[in-house]
Structure formats: structure tokens, C-alpha cells
Amino acid sequence: MRNFPTLYRDAVSGNNETWGSPARATQGDPHHQNSSTTHRKAFPVLSFNYDHVKTPFEISLWILLALLMKLGFHIIPRVSSIVLESCLLIVVGLLIGGIIKAIKQTAPVLDSKLFFLYLLPPIILDAGYFLPIRPFTENMGTILVFAVVGTLWNAAFIGGMMYGVCQIEGAQLGHVDLLSCLLFGAIISAVDPVAVLAVFEEIHINELLYILVFGESLLNDAVTVVLYHLFEEFSHAGIVTVGDAFLGVVCFFVVSLGGVMVGTIYGILGAFTSRFTSHTRVIEPLFVFLYSYMAYLSAEVFHLSGIMSLIACGVTMRPYVEANISHKSYTTIKYFLKMWSSVSETLIFIFLGVSTVAGPHAWNWTFVIFTVILCLVSRVLGVMGLTYIINKFRIVKLTKKDQFIVAYGGLRGAIAFSLGFLLTNNEMKNMFLTAIITVIFFTVFVQGMTIRPLVELLAVKKKEESKTSINEEIHTQFLDHLLTGIEDICGHYGHHHWKDKYDAYVKRWLIVGERSTEPQLISFYNKMEMKQAMMLVESGSAAKLPTLMSAATLQNIQQKGVPSRRAIPSISKSREEEIRKILRANLQKTRQKLYSYRRHDLVMDPFEDNVSEIRFRRQRAEMEKRMSHYLTVPANRQETPSVRKVCFEPENKVYTYDDSESPRGRAAQPSPRLPDAISLLSKSPQRPNQTSALRAKGSTELRAKAPDEQEEQDQVKLSRCFSDPGPNEEEEEDGSFLS
């Protein structure tokens, strides 16, 4: 692929030079007219110039290959359920490495610079941006203890014990001194976020365990950085004094807190910038990405913890950015982050495989085997010991099962490999690298693949269904206000008071205009409505509201300035009313707080381009409508709104109801026809659940009985919760329904 003889180029370019004089006309670029020759070159119709595009071509080829592999795994169904994707990717890497070695080319190795600067940041940003904040902060203490103390313990234990092992006579390891062992221990002890993400994603474990292991893998970066630099510096010097150890401790605080600070600064900058982007929506996502990347790089400049900086930036930026940016930008950010992190992860694993085959190895049985054993042992001991202490301070204790999963989930990955690769070249480096690779393989293959059946076997609690509901929102906020109020009555300024004040002031700075006064509930609700509106647009309810839709596409909403409460500004008030009523009538439970840190679940988001889904529903709606039209008695005011719970998948409950009748339709109100957006059930009270839902797990039906005293709109003591008048049956000819 790399070195093509110039002769070949000639032949292709149709040069009519004789073979006898290759030196003259075939040097350099065939496009040059060589006027000194007596032969005039014919104009090259087709030429071949590979060098010109070599680097981008190869990079693209690699990425394409990686993605095709990924695609392949998911097409073959059985394979992906048994074997982890990361394992498959490593195997593919091994194969490719083997092939490249066979044809005696130099393989691209997982260069540390490439890894740390290009491959790692997208994954970490993705993880940090979508980090579930509440569980993270609630378990912060535990996570920190595991990350800091746990990693230190691991490093010390492994380093120390390995030194002991090296002293064993027959192992030919006498040349390995204590500092090198400690360095090695520091490298190998850190739990790797990439590997953890790759494995834990597929096992859908409950949130607590996920956040514990994952949080630990993120926060131990600071420890790793400090230990690595400490030992590396001193392995040259040869000895470590107490003063140096003390400096190391100070360095740890500087590295971690400094990293967080850098990240926060960039995060605030990003949030502030996003305040002004309302006129240039297209570049909004770029701000998020670039500020975060700059945070990472800036931290790396000072040898601070880049990972913590990136996480801090994402976490800080997110609430404000999301309040300011358009819905499309939000989606773009989400998808781009997922895309990049996916590509990165794939590439990392493949390169790991390739590097394994390519790299110089120095296999030493004793060293490697003891490394693997000690890693396991130290992890288990560390987790158990720490949990014992931690449980004294936790309200929700960690059970033995939890401890096991935490210990077993401590996977090592590419970070360890890259750090090992950065070591200065000496005879120990190859041995270390071999051992590191073995440990990585062991953890990813053995632990990674067996964790899933073990989780099943131990019946570890799985991730619950996403239950973010309106009720939760309401009561969370209510509780917050209540607690603040009680604190104010008590007179001392507690945590809620400060949070409130912070929210009031900071948000004014960082969130655009009147949205800063928008309470969370409204913005939550608005996002729901927005999604609703998008669904309406996508499923083309043009039948009923043609002017509405043409004027109210989301483009218009964006361009016509910041509307109040995100209502559609270009439309008159009555239309606005109509829209609101329509939207409300077709409320769906939103997956606002998506478990977006899950990589694969994203695809199943029902709000995002699920067009075939919509079409199907549309057809059903049509069918239902027609059936109900024939079967119901129009004058019968007992039309019941019905509710159907349709589950598209376990994590997602979609509530729909279609508002049919209510006696308020009697009153001469300009009640809009309510589109029957996702109505899957007919409106007739006589017929019970007839339709089998799409992929319904169960269906609920709520029949409303309109009692006689319902006269007016506002005093209605609605026995049901529907506030909106339904469409009148008889007027319903042309289908207000979402068709």
C-alpha cells in the first residue's frame, strides 16, 4: 500500500517513454511537463498519485473498516449476544495486525499522542456531558474513596508485591527495582473508563453500581497522573524521599482540583457564549465541543488531570447550554458525541489488537502471571476493605453482591496501555507492556464476557424503567421549594437556601433572557410540547391544520427570534390556543431524562425520526377512526377518552390518550378538532381493548364518564383528568386526526 514503484505510475499514465530511460521523465510528478526531453509526453488522461492523499486516505480507510466491523457484529445476531463487542473488535485488530505483519508492512501502533489527544477526549466528553448528576453527587463520597484510596491501595499493593516477586530467584527479574515496580503498579492499577463503558453498557446494570464503577474510573485519573509522573521522575533519580512523597500529595490536590477548575472555567465560558447564539444556531454544537476540547488540552498543558477537566466542563456547561440552545442543536450535540465516542472506542479496541501483534514483546511467565493474579486479588481486597469502612457512613449500604460487581467490574483498558507505551525505552518497557496487554486482555475478555451471566446468576438489580414523569417533576420541585421555605422559617441558611440564591443569580447571567425565569417545570413541559409539535409535523397533520403547519415549522420558530415560552410567535393568538390545546390533548410521557449515557439506547428514542413508527400509527389511527365512526352513536355523550399505555420497549412508557367527547363540545366553543395523534384505541365505550398495541406490554384504559353536572369549562369537577373538549363526533368528517 505504501511504496509503489514509479514504473507502475508510468504505465498507467500512458507515458510513452521507453523503459530504457526511466530516470529522466519519470522522476517526480508526472504532471510536470519536462520540456528538456525531446519526447513530448502525452497528456495524462488518467494518472495515479497516491502520495498526495496518503494520510487522509489511510485514516479514513481505517475508520471505515472499524465501522464496518461494528456493523457486521450487529448484523450477525447470535454473536453479539454472546460475545462483547469490544472483544470482537480486539480480535479483529489481532487479525488485521497479523495480516499486516504477514505482508511485512509497518502497522500503525496505538501511538500515545494519538490516543490521548484524539481518541480519548470524545469518549470522556460523551460520558461527562451525559453524566447522571444526581446519583453522581449523591454517591460522591463513595466514588471518591474508591477512586483515590482504592487506586492508591492497588498501586501500592501490586507494586510492592511485584517487587517481592521479582526478588524470587529463578525468575530472572532481578533487574527490576522497586521504583519501576511501583511505576508499573501505578499504571496497571487504574480502572479504565473506556473498558468500563464498553462492558457495562451491555449489561444494563442498576444505576448505583454503574455510577460507582464508572465514576471511579473517571476520578482515578488524577491519582494515576500524579503517581505516574511521580514514579517516572524518580525512577531516574533512583530514590524517593519523604519530602518528595509530601510533594506528591500536594501535587495530587493540585492536579485534581486544578483540572476541575480549568474545566469549570471553560464550562462557564461555554454557557455564557451559548447565551448569544440565538442568531447563529448552526454553530452552537461546535461551541460545546470546542470549549470542552480546549478544557482538556489546557489541562494537559499543565499536566493537570485532563479527564477531570473535561468532565467538569461538560457537567458545568450542560444545564445552561441546554436552556439556551435550540432543540436541533441539542439533538446534534447528542448525536455527534455519541458518534465520535463510538468511533473512538471502536478504533481504540482495534488498535489495541493491532498493537498487540505488532509490538515488541518480552514474555516472562512469572511476571505476567503474577501480575494478573495480583491485580485481581488487590482489587477484591481493596473493594471489600473500603466498602466495610464506607458502609458505616452510607445510608444505603452496599451489599456483598454490589461489592462483587464493583470488584469484578474493575476493568483495565487502553489508558494503561498508552501510559505504558509512554515509558522511556528500556529493557523493562517491553516486559511491562506485555504484562499490561495480558491484563487488559484478561479483564476485557474473561471478566467482560463473564460479567453478564454472573449478573444474571446473582440476580443483581437491573436498571429500572425510566420513570421520569410529570409527577416526579412536580413533586421534586415542590419539595425543593418546601425545604427552602422551612429553612427560611428556621432562620438559618441551609443548603437549599444557597442553592436557590445561586440559581436565581447565576441563571440570570447564563441563561438567555426570559428563559431564565422559566421554571424548570415549564421548560420540561415545553420540551415535551416541542417534541409533540415535532411529531405532529413529522407525521404530517397537514390535513387539519395546513396553515398552521406551514407557518409553524420549526425553522420558523428558530428564525423568528426568541419567542416567549417558546410559543410559535408568528401565529395569531387563536391559533396558538389551538396548538396548545392540541398538544395538550396528545400528551405523551417524555423521555426527557434519557439515560443518554447509554450508547445504544439512543437509537430507540421514539421521538427521534421514527418515521415508520409514525406511519404505522397513522394508519391504525385512520382505521380506528373509521371503525369508531360507524360504531358509535354520535349523540351519545358518553364518549370516553381512553388511555392507552403503549410500550415501545421496556424503558419507555408512552402514555397516550385521545380526547374524544365531552359535553363541553356542546357549548359553542371554537373547540379545535383534536388530532388523534397516537390513538390506538377507539373512542367507543362499548368496545374494550380491541387493538393489540404495536408492541404493547399492556394497555390501560381510562374511561371517563362525563357526569351530568359538567356544564362549564372551569368549574368542571372532571372526574377524569382531561381538561380539553374532545372533538364532536358528528363534526368529525374530514379527520382532525393525525393522519
Binding site: 420513570k467 422559566e518 413541559y525 383528568c721 381538561s723
Partner: protein, 215 residues
Amino acid sequence: MGASQTHSAYKYQDLMTKTGFSLEQIKNLHYRFRQLSENNETLSRENLENIKDLADNPIKKQIVEAFFDKRNQHQNEMGSFEEIGFEQFVMVMSHFRPPTPKMTEEEKLAMRKDKLHFLFNMHDSDNDGKITLEEYRKVVEELLSMSGDIEKDTARGIADAAMLEVASTNVPNMGPDDYYEGITFEHFEQMFKEVEMESRMHVRFLDVDTRTIHS
């Protein structure tokens, strides 16, 4: 002064056993009570409503009302007081104590139920044992009352959707003639079954005797 000291000492003991606060906490609360009530024996609604910091709180009225609600006094009475004394004040405050590590499971459950009852009473203003749609709507409206001119319809829409959700979750198979009257306490509890109420709903009460509390 001496006599009233011993008198209050007895009262404190009593309160301590009833509510679980420590002596220091009760003393602090008493100091605060006297501050709020301007050294009277009883506290009225105006006293509470005049607290500056509460002015920004959207659910101020409900919070103040909760103090005067007889149901929160655990004496099976209904209705509301006009003015409350210190014991009632502390009783209400006791709903916000955090769980202590020494509590047993039953005690924790009881505390949780207690707290949920408190919340429930705040919503169920007419005392009929369930939160009807109107009451729920009021709750949401109050919640949103501080934030610009929210359309009444939005609040109602949110409340309606929420009610719908509760109904669907709790009564999955309603027949054609049933109707859902309102959220009962059991359904209310269901909403919070995943939330650790006993630890979430708490306020830190000062243990040390500080006399520098702002008003």
C-alpha cells in the same frame, strides 16, 4: 424568670420525647419562635408571611398553611388553628428531621409515612382524604405562580397530565363506568416509592446554640 425556666424545662423534656429533637435544637427553635412571634406566646399567619426570604417562594401560602393545619399535629383533629403555640410549631418542624442511623426499619417506615402524610396534607386542602383534580391544579398553579405570566392553561395542562399518569399507573383496569376521583394517600405513596423520602425531606437543624440567627 426562674420559675418559667423550670417550667420550660419540663415542656422541653416533653417536646423532646414527642418530637425527637435534642435539647439544643429545641432551644434554638424556641429562640426562633420568639423572634418570629415578636415575643408573644403565639404565632399568627402574618408573622410567618412577613419573613423576608419567604417572599420569593411560590408555595409560600401552602407552607404557612401547613403550620396551622391541625392534621399535622398528630392528634386526629381536622381544621386549622388561628394561631399556634410553640409546641405546634415544633411538631410541624419535626416532620423535617433526618433519619438517625440508629433507627430501625419500622421507625424509618413510620417516619417516611409521616413525611408523606405531611406532603399529602399540603395538597389536600379540603381534607377529604384525596387530592382531586382541582386541588392538583391549584398545586401546579402555585408552583408556577412566581415565574412570569404563565398561562393558566399551561398549568392546567400539566396538572391534568400528571393526574392522568397517576390514574393510569394505579388503576390500570378501570371499567367503563368507573371514574377516578382523586389521588388517595396510597396512590400518593406509590408516586414516591422509589424516592427515599426519609432522607430527602429533611432540613438541618442546628445543634449548637447560636444566637446570631437572622430574621
